[in-house]
């Protein structure tokens, strides 16, 4: 496929700081190659802004290969853009048409306050992990991998859940800004493995309590999170989180 050039109109959310009032500003991205990635397109726009002495559009990025979960933004109303199963950095300009108007907004959630422009503070996720998303192991050399048998089905389910990169697209997509898909992925991958069992009951209670405390909404089983997740985490994990929660609350003596 030969590369073509696109001329695009960008409507970008600009907000100078956490407590500043934000607004959409219009930018023109001209002569953009269809082979450029979405973030490269923003880089080109930013270079032009800098050349004109204007403040470049702040956005987060790191690995640019879809595994770090940093580059979250909402493109035309869809977290990580219109395609399924990819992050923003994996989105390419060939999926847009010449003359398109593209709205770019930050993730919107009370628990993810805007720092600047498209950059939001997602440390709420770190706080949830700190509350219980860990296992206790001795330090020292890595233990022998196969000394504790794990059945294949569980290993695969745990691996699927562990694919979560904590990007926050589930929160951004959820009409309630709920973090249930993220929390369920983190609870699931540990609950499915023998290494996660010592803290099993306390973990789910602490992580749910922390999620509630941080101002995320409640899950209403809409399923938008699953559709927008770049790692295609399934809402069957949310059902598992619910089971783990009831098991801990009603069948164990462990109180958060």
């Amino acid at each position: 496929m030969s590369s073509k050039k696109l001329n695009l109109t960008l409507k970008v959310w600009r907000q100078a700081g956490p407590n500043e009032k934000g607004e959409f500003k219009t930018y023109y991205a001209n002569n953009i190659s269809t082979e450029a990635s979405f973030l490269e397109m923003l880089d080109i726009v930013n270079e032009e802004l800098e050349a004109r002495g204007e403040d470049p559009i702040a956005y987060e990025h790191d690995c640019r290969e879809g595994i770090c979960g940093t580059c979250g933004m909402v493109i035309n109303g869809r977290p990580h853009g219109p395609l399924q199963g990819i992050t923003t950095c994996q989105l390419h300009m060939r999926h847009f048409k010449d003359g398109d108007v593209i709205y770019i907004e930050p993730f919107r959630a009370k628990a993810f306050p805007v720092i600047k422009d498209l950059v939001v503070d997602r440390s709420a996720f770190d706080k949830i992990i700190q509350a219980g998303g860990f296992i206790s192991v001795n330090t020292g050399s890595a233990p022998e991998a196969n000394s504790i048998p794990v059945k294949k089905e569980n290993a695969e389910l745990a691996m699927d859940a562990a694919a979560c990169i904590g990007c926050g697209a589930c929160v951004a997509a959820c009409p309630n800004a709920s973090a249930m898909l993220f929390v369920s992925a983190k609870v699931s991958h540990l609950a499915l493995l023998p290494q996660g069992l010592p803290e099993r009951e306390i973990r789910v209670q602490k992580m749910v309590a922390k999620m509630d405390e941080l101002g995320f909404g409640n899950c209403s089983n809409v399923g938008a999170c699953e559709a927008e997740c770049p790692k295609e985490i399934k809402i069957t994990n949310i059902a598992r989180l619910n089971r783990e929660f009831y098991r801990a609350r009603f069948l164990s003596n462990v109180e958060e």
């Binding site: 959310w13 800004a177 709920s178 995320f216 899950c219 089983n221 399923g223 938008a224 699953e226």
Partner: protein, 224 residues
Amino acid sequence: MGWFLKTFNYSVGKKLLMALTGFFLILFLCIHLFGNSFLYLGRDAFNNYVHFLNETDLVYIIRVIEIILVLGFAFHIWDGIRLWWQNRKARPVKYFVKTVDPKSTWTSRNMIYSALIIFVFLIIHLRNFWYEFKYGSIKETGATDYDIVVKTFQDPVYMIFYVVAMVFLFLHLHHGFQSAFQTLGINHKKYTPFIVWFGRVIAFVLSAGFASFPIYFFFFYGGN
């Protein structure tokens, strides 16, 4: 008891309360529909059924069930408002571009609105039937419970309102039934497709079943 009540202050606990009260209310609707079906058997059959519930020794059990029913509605409504309010607060700044995810259903995103219409219907419904059966002045003219029902359903405005409300009941249950299973943690490769299908059947049977009464008495009932 502390640990038990505290459970329902977690987000997952709030959803559990929503699911359990929802199932209880669906069970009530099934029994209610069964009771209403006596309308098709004629004046005596229906009046005898109402009499059987209210004027035999069964009345003591019925009163207790009524209290549980009111509590079921109250908790479902209170919990729903609490969840809805928290969910609103969780996104103080809305998106400018509102793209609806093609995979999510309209019903799942608008439960509060279908709930609101069902609630308004419930109030009017209680006024028209529960109140009239018990305290209505029409009774002094010798009209029976059956006559009250027929007369009410022959009002075109009420008939249309009733049917529209049942459409929203369908939409509410369409999401609610299968969503309650997910909340209970039941999402299984083997059973979930059946649960989703069965939920739609239940939603249709209940809403179409209830809507059939005003439609029948408005269009097809020729008096007796």
